[in-house]
């Protein structure tokens, strides 16, 4: 299959949303939600996609699993170009990818039992023919996410379960087709703090055991340390920095990453006497973002070049890429 254990590669991936205005929709504008993202994810690795609201991280996640059709660039999955797959090929790709959403309460059709919700993917892909085998698979998936005894949960309706339990079911649904890639879109941000760590631990264990590639979308840098090998910092549709998670947390290079890290609360009593410097302003509107570096209007270290030209990605250290003119080597 794939020589170097490569699972997913993005090449200059773009997702622009069309906005039509004027008489008979004559004027076309684009919201450049994801604008040229390149990265590689290996088999069995987890990657965090970190960014604030509106940075395009959710759009990127949905484009990766082809809920959105990309406008440009390529998605290579297991050495196969999946960028514009259609019909049966797309159905295959759907089986190879899974999605865990942010809102566990909205993730299930209220008129389906948990059993039916889990059975649906099996019915659609027809991977398991007999009814008994399907039931076996459903129960196994529920065991996998530790909702035991399974019979207690299988025949309940979604409204009878708690948020944490529902998120476990959502994970079970995402892995029931034995995918290779899982996109988890802020899977714990709507849950109580007390169950967040349980869900994350569960996801991490499953990821390691099933050798899943996971893209973990979050706005919370603190959980990335615990969860992923790789981290990718997004800002206004661009990837600002990507490196090993440990590396980014220990040695953030991009001014934006630094700002994010400063904003992360730390349980240190000293903090009450310290003033945290946060860049002023807001992220740019994605309809008409700055032509140069998208962080330049807010950047405390910006110089002339930053306002003129968009920086490429510089490899500041081995495996540590930064999209910032500060790290240009002449």
């Amino acid at each position: 299959m794939n020589s170097e254990g490569r699972l997913l590669e993005l090449e200059d991936l773009r997702k622009w949303f069309e906005i039509r205005r004027g008489f008979l929709s004559s004027k076309v504008n684009y919201v450049k939600a994801v604008d040229g993202v390149t990265f590689r994810l290996d088999e069995g690795m987890a990657m965090s996609l970190v960014g604030e609201s509106g940075s395009g991280k959710t759009t990127l996640g949905k484009t990766i699993i082809r809920l959105y059709e990309p406008n440009g660039g390529r998605i290579i999955f297991q050495d196969r170009d999946v960028t514009h797959l259609k019909a049966n090929d797309l159905k295959w790709y759907r089986r190879m990818t899974g999605l865990v959403q942010q809102d566990p309460f909205g993730a299930f059709a209220s008129h389906f039992t948990i059993f039916r919700s889990l059975e649906e993917p099996l019915l659609i892909h027809n991977t398991v023919k007999s009814k008994e085998e399907r039931a076996e698979k459903v129960f196994k998936a529920l065991e996998e996410v530790r909702l035991t005894p399974v019979e207690d949960f299988a025949y309940k309706y979604p409204h009878m379960l708690s948020g944490g339990q529902l998120q476990r079911v959502a994970i079970a649904r995402a892995i029931i087709l034995e995918p290779r890639l899982l996109v988890a879109d802020e899977p714990v941000s709507m849950l109580d703090a007390s169950v967040r760590i349980e869900i994350l631990t569960l996801l991490r264990r499953l990821q390691e055991r099933l050798r899943l590639g996971v893209i973990y979308i979050t706005h919370d840098l603190a959980t990335t340390r615990f969860f992923s090998e790789w981290a990718l910092i997004m800002y206004a549709g661009h990837v600002m920095e990507k490196a090993f998670t440990q590396e980014i947390l220990r040695n953030p290079l991009h001014p934006y990453t630094r700002a994010l890290l400063t904003a992360t609360p730390e349980p240190n009593p000293e903090n009450r006497n310290r003033f945290k410097q946060v860049p002023p302003g807001e992220p740019p509107a994605l309809i008409d973002p700055p032509k140069s570096c998208r962080f330049s209007p807010r950047c405390p270290h910006a110089f002339d070049k930053c306002f003129k030209e968009e920086p490429p990605e510089f490899e500041a250290a081995s495996g540590h890429w930064v999209k910032c003119w500060l790290y240009e080597r002449s």
Binding site: R94, F108, A109
Partner: protein, 466 residues
């Protein structure tokens, strides 16, 4: 709108749960009881009077010749407090004839028939039906025997044809004769117009009073050897059956009974078809959006300003009309109703729910999403609407029939009302003629309205407070 919530709302626990909840409303129980009654009535009707038979009977005048004209229903007595006359039929065949053989080979035959009359009112009409075969037209002498013993020669009648009829009520000569008889018996002119019925059935008194007792009629005729003569005396009452009769002597009960299955099947089929087709069109419009949506929405808007009834009247005027074509035109004219806009909005709302996105992520097709994920969600508000729309269609059919645009063959409630109208039922005091079909129409409407309202309350709990 509780049913729209994705997670926290209570899902319907299947058909059983819905039924149990429906039965917690007394009004719904009443509605169901009425509906079951109407369904039972329809089944009974369809089994006992098959449709072809009913249509044929409804359209023939001969079948009802022994029924009184414009008779009220029998139970109307309860309001008058008097026994109103039923129709009495006596046939010669039931009695022995006395025969005398004459020298010339002819037979002189005489029959006497008797019947008891103890009603509190005069009959409405008297007819003698003959049924005979002969070589030479026989002459029949008819005598009337009153309970007090008097015998009156009614008529010397020469048969005009084998199945001749003698309309005694219309006989002006007999009327004059009876008036003179009354004058001579009581010594002066009576206070009332002596019609044939009153003359034959009243006491000899100043005011008309029914003389109760056993009446008789004697027929005398001279027949040749192989001649056969039979006759039937029909004394028409003023009440008939459960529902009375109309101007063509037809028992209204047939129209009323057959009206039930026709009205209900028309109303239910139209409601079901328009609602489900509208649901599908609205869902497609909301789900796919874009050009399909625009086209559907423009059609809906154009359809909304088209005058529904005039178009229907036009259609039914120009084309051969039967119930099926009316049904089709009503369905075609109402599938692009404004209800589609509501469905469309609901679908657009549901389309944005995370569970739809999740289903797309695991590969559910558009078809599957619409059928299993979207429609079950929008069905709850649609079903009570459908049930509530049934009376509208039932009334529409009745209205068209009333306007003379309905199916010309089927006996329907609207047609009965239409007949009543053209024959001036209200002016002549024949209220039953209008009120009976109106009652059936209202009963049907109430049944569906009660059930629909209860369902609506279950689906939309906000209405419970009203």
């Amino acid at each position: 709108m509780g049913w729209l919530k994705t997670g926290s709302s209570k899902p319907s626990a299947g058909l059983k749960g819905v039924l149990r909840e429906v039965l917690s409303y007394k009004s719904a129980i009443a509605g169901i009881v009425i509906l079951l009654f109407l369904i039972g009535l329809s089944v009974y009707t369809m089994v006992t009077i098959p449709l072809p038979e009913a249509i044929q009977a409804w359209r023939s005048s001969e079948a009802w010749s022994r029924n009184p004209r414009n008779a009220q229903p029998e139970w109307i007595e309860l309001f008058y407090g008097r026994r109103l006359p039923r129709t009495i039929k006596v046939s010669l065949g039931e009695t022995k004839a006395s025969e005398v053989l004459r020298e010339d080979g002819t037979l002189s035959v005489s029959w006497v028939i008797h019947f008891n009359y103890d009603y509190d009112d005069f009959p409405s009409e008297i007819i003698v039906f003959f049924n005979s075969s002969y070589v030479e037209k026989p002459v029949v002498e008819i005598y009337w025997i009153r309970p007090d013993g008097d015998e009156i020669l009614l008529k010397k009648h020469s048969l005009r044809r084998p199945d001749d009829r003698l309309y005694l009520s219309n006989d002006l000569g007999l009327e004059l004769k009876l008036e003179r008889l009354f004058e001579s018996k009581i010594g002066k002119k009576p206070n009332f117009t002596v019609t044939v019925e009153k003359g034959l059935f009243s006491e000899y008194s100043q005011d008309p009073r029914v003389l109760k007792g056993v009446y008789g009629m004697r027929l005398e005729a001279t027949l040749s050897k192989n001649d056969v003569l039979n006759a039937e005396l029909v004394v028409y009452g003023t009440v008939h059956g459960l529902a009375g009769t109309d101007h063509l002597r037809r028992p209204l009960i047939i129209g009323l009974l057959w009206g039930a299955p026709i009205a209900m099947s028309f109303g239910l089929t139209t409601a079901l078809l328009t609602t489900s087709l509208g649901l599908i069109i609205g869902t497609i419009s909301g789900w796919y959006g874009g050009k399909i949506d625009s086209v559907i929405q423009r059609i809906v808007e154009i359809n909304a300003v088209l005058p529904f009834l005039p178009i229907l009247i036009l259609l039914t005027t120009f084309y051969r009309i039967d119930l099926f074509i009316i049904l089709l035109s009503v369905v075609v004219l109402s599938i692009f109703s404004l209800g589609i806009k509501g469905t469309r909005i609901l679908v657009m709302q549901i389309k944005s729910y995370p569970y739809i996105e999740a289903a797309q992520a695991y590969g559910a097709s558009n078809m599957r999403l619409i059928l299993f994920y979207v429609i079950p969600k929008i069905l709850p508000p649609v079903v009570p609407g459908m049930i509530s729309s049934v009376p509208g269609f039932v009334f529409l059919e009745a209205g068209l029939s009333y306007l003379g645009l309905g199916d010309p063959f089927l006996p329907t409630w609207g047609k009965i009302i239409s007949d009543a109208q053209t024959n001036g039922a209200f002016y002549k005091g024949m209220y039953y003629w209008v009120l009976e079909p109106a009652f059936m129409l209202i009963l049907t409407a109430i049944a569906f309205a009660l059930i629909g309202m209860a369902l609506e309350r279950i689906v939309n709990p906000k209405l419970k407070e009203l």
